[in-house]
Point group: C2
Chain length 283, copies 2
Amino acid sequence: MKNIFFIGIGLIGGSFAIDIKKSNSKVVIHGIDTNKNHLKEAQKLGIIQQKAILNDLENADLVIVSIPVDATVKLLPTILDKISDNTLVVDAGSTKDAICKAVEHHPKRRNFLACHPIAGTEKSGPTAAISGLYKGKTNIICEVEKTTFKLQEKALKLFMDIGMRIRYMDPVSHDKHIAYVSHLSHISAFMLGKTVINKEKNERDIFDMAGSGFESTVRLAKSSPAMWTPIFEQNKENVIETLEEYINNLQHFKELMQQDNFSEIFNEMENTNYIKQILNGIN
Amino acid sequence: MKNIFFIGIGLIGGSFAIDIKKSNSKVVIHGIDTNKNHLKEAQKLGIIQQKAILNDLENADLVIVSIPVDATVKLLPTILDKISDNTLVVDAGSTKDAICKAVEHHPKRRNFLACHPIAGTEKSGPTAAISGLYKGKTNIICEVEKTTFKLQEKALKLFMDIGMRIRYMDPVSHDKHIAYVSHLSHISAFMLGKTVINKEKNERDIFDMAGSGFESTVRLAKSSPAMWTPIFEQNKENVIETLEEYINNLQHFKELMQQDNFSEIFNEMENTNYIKQILNGIN
């Protein structure tokens, strides 16, 4: 692989670009972005070597699409139209069903690999791009059987080189599971931030009293609305279901408090402490 | 100060003990704990030099009470009964109103300083105690005017020596504000953990798909139920109020999704991004 094109050169694309260039200094990283400032910053930071446009994609060995998921759904067919027969296209979207559906009948479907690298920070843009973002992180690959063998192999080598773990899943299951472990966390953090901001008009007081616990719980409320709005839209049914369960659990907790049933409050928390084992990967 | 007694030698007390000993090697740290294992571990780890019992408190220059807040309310009058006229007693509880009320008429009220050091981790016990836990962190002091000048001064020096920032507040305001920036975050994390555990029976799948975002949002769900149940009980009214607002905000978000009003979903998130400025302490 020599010519690698990034469509969207923010946190996700930029961090990929940095590590791919590190693991193979001969590649040339080309950047395509509707945000001219991002493109300029990415070039200045050395994340990309060349600015490019969509018509240049015929020269691409690999295209990485890392833009909001609504833009991916719209643009992906055009990208596949423009590439050569041997080009691999991967995406990095947090939803997979709508993206896979958008190209299911495309004549170049076999050039595309649907991916969700589960990594990121609450920051955005090329200045947020960092080396090592993907090391040890999971990359969920969907409908792997719909991609040609040769390009599957190329993609796997790429992800292995930057230290990712691979998991295979169908897009419907992906969207259902990810609603719980990622999309719901974002809403929970955003609404926690909103609740505190609404209540505490004197920000200085919040800041002084907010410990590291609040900071970590609310961290995702710093995330980009431009990235997250289309994710919630595309995964609407699953997200609403998780939200309903979350609200019911909060409501139940509140009722236990109103009933002064603190032994049950204790049990609720003790049962949930089990999350320690889960997060440690221990049974 | 020579003889410092800790009542409760877990994460909070233990971390204080380590840094106090560091900043003044001549002090002798005495530990009192109903948990004999904790006491043994604390001695083994060098966090305390001596095991002690409540009757030894007459020899204390300083007593730091770092036990669950229900135990503090019960034990604090007895502690004040047992100390000498020159002993300073400070607590570290996450609620302040009930604790201040428990000793408001005690003849030794002026020996007590009500404190809430806003620091901690989701871990507990003496093995979780670390040096530097309090550096740069805020210590909220309540009803400072009810403590004698000389002991106020001693306490301030102690907190300054380990790098804490001091803020003064009345206990009612403390409990109201802390419900938003600390107590609510814990419930939000516990119920997020519960929702995901209930839904995803195959824990391996959660672990594989959970990124750093989920991990940070759910982190507080690892916290100790023995510590948090009495906090919620003592701050019941404020916590229920914050929970109601939080649930209403989540409900509103869900309704916007059901109405496909994603431009308003965008606005909700964009407005909440303001948390960045707040957490950076910038206006």
